[in-house]
Symmetry: C2
Subunit: 354 residues, 2 copies
């Protein structure tokens, strides 16, 4: 920290991304990436001819990408904004809809980035405890006057809020924005996208990092009423007009257009998730019900921190949060079947040694 750091920046609470150690080769089950490469259509789109055009700026309006997303979601391009990952879009939303005296509410156990981003804009954050079983009670949010942010499915739990509950949240107070972060929705949860046409106070964010195998391409997007999207563009053009690069625009559009590949990847993740949950439960684990491409699990014999460390020593990375309420659990990404078999073998060895 330099002596020039502003008091506003001192109050920041930066996010810690999942580790990416380089000392050895790991089976990476710690950042919820897809075990599958991007669609062959994405690889085709990233041609040498397109790379040669990198001397030209990308389209700041992201027109082709937004049109592809809109078509796939049954909406219009003016209902879509694309970003450098959905993290960027979430930041735009906090700036657009929150301010002095108008903070944001989110769960105590959820994506750590909401906390970091509210601090970025000096916003008041209300952390609402999940129930004991990690389910979210929408009653807790009904009175809150500011922006409500709900990850659905939630991370790191993988658990969902039923869409009728979110509808209730939208209807109870139509004077506030409800952001539903659907980063993991494609792995088995019901989406709120069909509600976009009904509620002008709903913003749904999604990402291509997980179900579309483009984590390294950084493409996220949000869906909402044309007015909400215009607000987000107002922030974008004050921050970084050319926020999505040329190749990511192409990759994103190609990924959205390959429905078959997308469905087959999601199906494989769901199948492997079911297999993994069963395998872990057979080994004495408690696994939260997951609709995401990860599971949140607790061994009846090895504490969370120890499980994380022992797996890492043996070449498998999972994510452990040294945080109240969830210190006993580990978040494990659903990788390929082979990777999950390697995980269970390692757990067998570990349990045999305890």
């Amino acid at each position: 920290m330099s002596r020039f750091l502003s008091s506003e920046a001192k109050r920041l609470d930066p996010y810690t991304p999942g580790e990416q150690p380089r000392d050895q080769k790991y089976i990476k089950l710690n950042t919820n990436e897809s075990p599958f490469p991007p669609s062959p259509k994405v690889l085709e789109a990233l041609s040498r001819a397109e790379a040669e055009k990198l001397c030209l700026y990308s389209d700041p309006t992201c027109a082709a990408l937004n049109a592809a997303i809109a078509k796939r979601c049954g909406l219009r391009p003016e209902n879509v904004i694309s970003g450098n990952g959905s993290d960027e879009i979430l930041a735009f939303a906090f700036r657009a809809f929150c301010g002095e005296g108008r903070g944001a509410a989110f769960a105590d156990i959820t994506y750590g980035f909401y906390e970091a981003q509210t601090a970025l804009f000096g916003l008041e954050a209300r952390r609402v405890p999940l129930r004991e079983d990690f389910s979210l009670n929408v009653e807790d949010y009904l009175d809150f006057p500011g922006t409500v942010v709900i990850a659905n499915p939630n991370a790191p739990t993988g658990m969902t809020v039923p869409v009728p509950e979110i509808r209730r949240l939208l209807e109870t107070n139509r004077d506030r924005v409800v952001v539903v972060d659907e980063a993991y929705v494609d792995f088995g949860a019901e989406s709120c996208v069909p509600l976009v046409r009904e509620y002008e106070n709903l913003l749904v964010t999604q990402t291509m990092s997980k179900s579309r195998s483009l984590a390294g391409g950084r493409v996220g997007f949000a869906l909402g009423s044309a007015e909400l999207i215009a607000d987000l563009n107002r922030v974008k053009y004050s921050f970084n007009p050319y926020n999505v690069n040329r190749l990511s625009l192409l990759a994103g559009a190609a990924a959205v257009e390959d429905e078959e590949y997308f469905q087959s990847c999601c199906r494989a993740v769901r199948d492997t998730r079911a297999w993994t949950m069963e395998a872990l439960e057979a080994r004495g684990f408690t696994v939260l019900p997951s609709s995401a491409n990860f599971i949140f699990a607790k061994s009846n014999r090895v504490p969370g921190g120890e499980l994380y460390r022992r797996l890492k020593e043996n070449g498998i990375l999972v994510r452990w949060f040294d945080k109240d309420r969830i210190r006993d659990l580990c978040r494990i990404t659903i990788g390929s079947k082979e990777q999950m078999e390697a995980l269970t073998e390692q757990i067998d060895r570990l349990l045999a040694g305890t």
Copy 2:
């Protein structure tokens, strides 16, 4: 604008990027892009094998790219931060070093983004008029207690501040940060990068959008003391940890390593700039002395707005700012020799008709 927009976001003053019309094919001399494709080494780096890895997140620390930049600049990796274009880095700097009671000062005629970004964080902005001849007087900034931002060369003028003057600015008040935005430095201005080791209050930003033909790849970076860079990372990890995508990391590193190609592109731009300045002056234009890949020029017969419109009607886009003090001028990017010949031919036709 929706009724949910916060009062903070209402006060934003979004930047308008150079137009990218799609109704016909234009000679684009309006966004200061390079007329040359990226280095062949960049094209090689963007292989199919790398595209297949897009399912994995990019390295949030940008280690390989930062190392390549550091090596090229004679600094250490901890003196470098990379971003999704230098626009992003500038936003990080405003958040890191400014705040309540600690605003930013910049020229009245300069890159429009400083204005937009100070508004993003609700900062006080002092706009300091350039001299009548558009040169910058550092005296005007000596007393300012907040962050000083100087584009050097400046946009849209192309004019420079001599490095000893910037040194004076750094020395007069060592308790404030001076940001030198060197987006255009490679086309003939002296860089402040060698001063980074001397002054802990200096931050130099650069971009690969212009001299390295990567506008569409979105790679910018900043150089400063390890402490200043740590401050910027604090903001980055509160905003978007994976801010640079995988392919841009590779493209950026390859571009920095191809010194020969870089030098030949810069040389070609300088040669074409000299040719264009002479050609325009021969046609009665006044051209400001430019050290950038654009010139700022005024006809003695056609007003700026009309020149812009007439060129556009004839398939050539230049940039015109409908703004006090510079309404008479057009900013013209230095394209290829052929493009500049097309420009002068068009101007000849236009002048013959007046």
